[in-house]
Symmetry: D2
Subunit: 166 residues, 4 copies
Amino acid sequence: MFQFPIFFDVLSPRKSRACASVQSMQAQNPEFREYVRKIFESARFISHLGIELTDIEAGTCGTRLTVRAEHAQQDGVVHAGVIATMADHTAGGSAGTLLRKGQRVLSVEFKMNYLRPAAATELRCNGTVLKAGRTLTIAESEVFAIRNGESKLAAKGTFTLAVLDG
Amino acid sequence: MFQFPIFFDVLSPRKSRACASVQSMQAQNPEFREYVRKIFESARFISHLGIELTDIEAGTCGTRLTVRAEHAQQDGVVHAGVIATMADHTAGGSAGTLLRKGQRVLSVEFKMNYLRPAAATELRCNGTVLKAGRTLTIAESEVFAIRNGESKLAAKGTFTLAVLDG
Amino acid sequence: MFQFPIFFDVLSPRKSRACASVQSMQAQNPEFREYVRKIFESARFISHLGIELTDIEAGTCGTRLTVRAEHAQQDGVVHAGVIATMADHTAGGSAGTLLRKGQRVLSVEFKMNYLRPAAATELRCNGTVLKAGRTLTIAESEVFAIRNGESKLAAKGTFTLAVLDG
Amino acid sequence: MFQFPIFFDVLSPRKSRACASVQSMQAQNPEFREYVRKIFESARFISHLGIELTDIEAGTCGTRLTVRAEHAQQDGVVHAGVIATMADHTAGGSAGTLLRKGQRVLSVEFKMNYLRPAAATELRCNGTVLKAGRTLTIAESEVFAIRNGESKLAAKGTFTLAVLDG
């Protein structure tokens, strides 16, 4: 009698756990790709760091960064602030894909967990919307440290973004 | 030349995004199920609320709760504190599956996001370890609100747990 | 030429640091005390746990809890979920003091840090508004563990609350 | 009969609330100022952004940043990532003041709340240790946006740092 959509199959949590919160998302603005590109092009700090947009789909956003000497903290690995910046902007990009024309988002809070020191030559980040609401959007970002062809989850964050009209 | 494990395929983030951080986890203690059951049985507050263990695998833990009148907040939905308690203990249970014999975990911090008001007759929660370290384990919990055979992601949290010897 | 209000004296951070964010807050609803009392009386889970309101001022709220056996986790100290519930509801109470008549607040996310195991016979909690906005209020809660006449900061949390009309 | 230290006077929460968690902190390393200076000098990303150390005391740290065009996000205000970087490194500096010789700290997680858009010519940040533990230190940072001689709390964050030997 119970009919669960496949990704919410909580009655057999063993199988579905990791993807439990995945839903297909619908873009409201047909020009959402142009809009997200603009969020990246017009943010001076993002281009200054060298963060590049690689992927835009409804509900998700991908970015990459070639690690430079100036991104390092005292022990040589990438500074937590670089990773937080990348995670924040990529989460914002994913939220941006689901806005209506004329709306914008603003980070109101976020939380980062650093799982491993990011000793890397390149970072990759995936942002995914968990819930797109009328006034608030919740998104997650995962940041991967890449070195010698190996990719490791270095950090994960959760972001609350305010949806503003104009 | 590049060989990425399937769930870390960051070069094609489109496909792997939602499951990017899933890794198979190895239990260190052959009696991990008994240990996790004990964490639930001996925690008075958990049995007092009615939170029941439904699922234990290496790296994950599942729980359920039949919602009672006393779990409500002022507007009738389940209190954020009930949901946080369930998410915290289930994350702790998932962390417990990966401990060595004699170790235990203690929540040092967590962050909850409430995605929807939990108007529900039942809650289900899945806890998953993101990273099991020597001294710290990072885990996530997703809490689903179930009503009339429908299940919705109501809240998600991230937990940092200290791994203690004895 | 520079005129800093006393609690924002960032030019001499040494003196003002701990109190840097304190501002006097103005209640908008003359009946804010009645309103906050109602938030506590009508929340079943709060009275079920035994959390009592002790203090209501514009921008702040105080609560207490006599620790009972059923509040314990597996190692005998108060469960992290009890502390989170108290911190959440007290932060909500502090946010409630600054609402206009007819508004209410709802937790959208929070983050708790547990500084010490709460081995206590009584808990006390203070909630304080950091920023009361039009649509979001940010508040903090500090939870103190009291035993043998000694009081120790056991946990601290930060709360984002949505301000809803009606 | 009850003797509470002045800053932990929870029996009269009205008076002490804002400063409830302030404790005097004891440095363990007589050269803690040199050590913290080194954390700032050797972190390439920090000097690259222009973040300067202004204040070091046992348990606290102060920094400043002259805002430049490259710190901006798309809407012209300072990027959330710049503020997070400053808050993180200043919290780390405050934690560094209480280490024993040879120890270092590493951010394991943090949470930022953005209270107001940081339209500013200068940022000031104060980091304060909440709890210095054997393996984990909890610290807070407040970031102030300064413009036209006015200073406003723009963001506040909580940081968990691992204490590492060597």
